[in-house]
Amino acid sequence: MKTKEASKLVDDYIRGEMSVEEREQFERKLSEDPGLREAYELQKNINRALDDEEFIQYKKLLNEIHREKRVKHPLNFQRTKRIYAIAALIVVLLAVGSILLFQLLRPEHERLFRKYYTSYAFEQFRSFEENKLQEGILFYQEGQYEQAIRFSKSYITNHTGDVQANFLLAISLMEEGKYNEAVHYFSRVIKSDHLRLREYAEWYEALATLHQGKIERASLLLSRIKIEENNFSEKAQEILIALEE
């Protein structure tokens, strides 16, 4: 039987649009003809599906539960991902917190020192590159302060009054955190007539003293710099104000 013909017969049968004889004939055919049986089963399913509110509600409920559970209890891998994200966040927060705490607990004079201290840049003084201190300056520029100290100390042994060598040694000692010794060699520079290096030496001496926590002495040195009205006067004043606060 052709599909269209079977479909029309099935439709008429289901809708009750057949006479008693036609119905009996259809039911006989139904048991004999697999094609007609298939069309009949299919139509019955379509009719049910068109108006199956119960099924719709059940499916809806199932999906709601799934949605709700998925939100409340995320899938394992998502949960793992989230745990990693939280762990990473905690690590970052702890790191940031430690830094902030360290900053807060650090004494004010040390905080000021770190704010104002900058390494000396030898390239500004071309004349240095031409003299015998060149090797030591290179050590300094490469961050090899121990070697710069060894070199300048050795040089000073034979040239005690060499301002540039004393300055190189002092600034290298500063970089190594040996402030007390640095102050000693800066004082030699300050006593010299090398105006430019003297200015730097006074500034670094004041900062080294500040770092050592000798506030009164540092304030005195900074006040002098402030009065001299040189390149560091403004900064010196800022530190003095901060120290007073």
Binding site: T3, S7, R15, P34, E38, E41, L42, N45, I46, N47, R48, A49, L50, D51, D52, E54, F55, Y58, K59, L61, L62, N63, I65, H66, K69, L75
Partner: protein, 176 residues
């Protein structure tokens, strides 16, 4: 009851799908179909448990999942070594015929795919509304359009269903 089924069976079944080339969506689709098949069996008064419920549910689920894998042209032999018996140790292997329920689920899938107007016309026709009444209810200007539309919708639906490989497999199974 649905929540109980979800809590007790979905996580384990989902894991198995994910460990066997499946995606999260697959896991949910297969589980949903499994539950709906059981729901259909209950409605048709055809749920006859001769084993543990978990065995029954697992058998339906496994069958659905294997069919999905096959449909995707997965080589079944590659997956054969996979242990499908993770729900219970020494799980009893049973066969559950779900052709009838699966056919209904498939028909539902395509009915839902029909456009709203088609569904309405077919539904009103099913409820014995005349073509003229359908015309009035849906604001269709010509009586003849309803008849044509109704016919076209039904043809389209039948064509979709009959060309679906899952339907063809069910029919083939029935003829055996």
């Amino acid at each position: 009851m649905i929540e109980y089924l979800y809590d007790n069976y979905y996580p384990a079944l989902r894991r198995m799908v994910l460990h066997n080339s499946g995606r999260d969506d697959d896991a949910w689709d297969i589980f949903q179909d499994t539950i709906l098949i059981i729901f259909e069996k209950i409605r048709n008064d055809e749920l006859q448990l001769k084993c543990a419920f978990s065995t029954y549910l697992y058998a339906i689920w496994k069958n659905k999942w294997l069919k999905t894998l096959e449909r995707r042209r997965f080589e079944y032999h590659k997956n054969r070594s996979y242990d499908f018996q993770l729900v219970e140790e020494n799980q009893e292997s049973i066969e559950v015929n779900t052709d009838k329920e699966e056919q209904y689920l498939l028909v539902r899938e395509y009915v839902e795919k029909l456009d709203e107007r088609c569904r309405k016309i077919m539904k009103l026709h099913l409820k014995d509304y005349s073509n003229q009444e359908i015309c009035d209810l849906l604001n269709i200007s010509q009586y003849d359009l309803v008849r044509k539309k109704k016919h076209r919708c039904k043809e389209k639906l039948l064509q979709w269903i009959k060309s679906d490989k899952r339907y063809q497999a069910i029919m083939k199974n029935k003829k055996k």
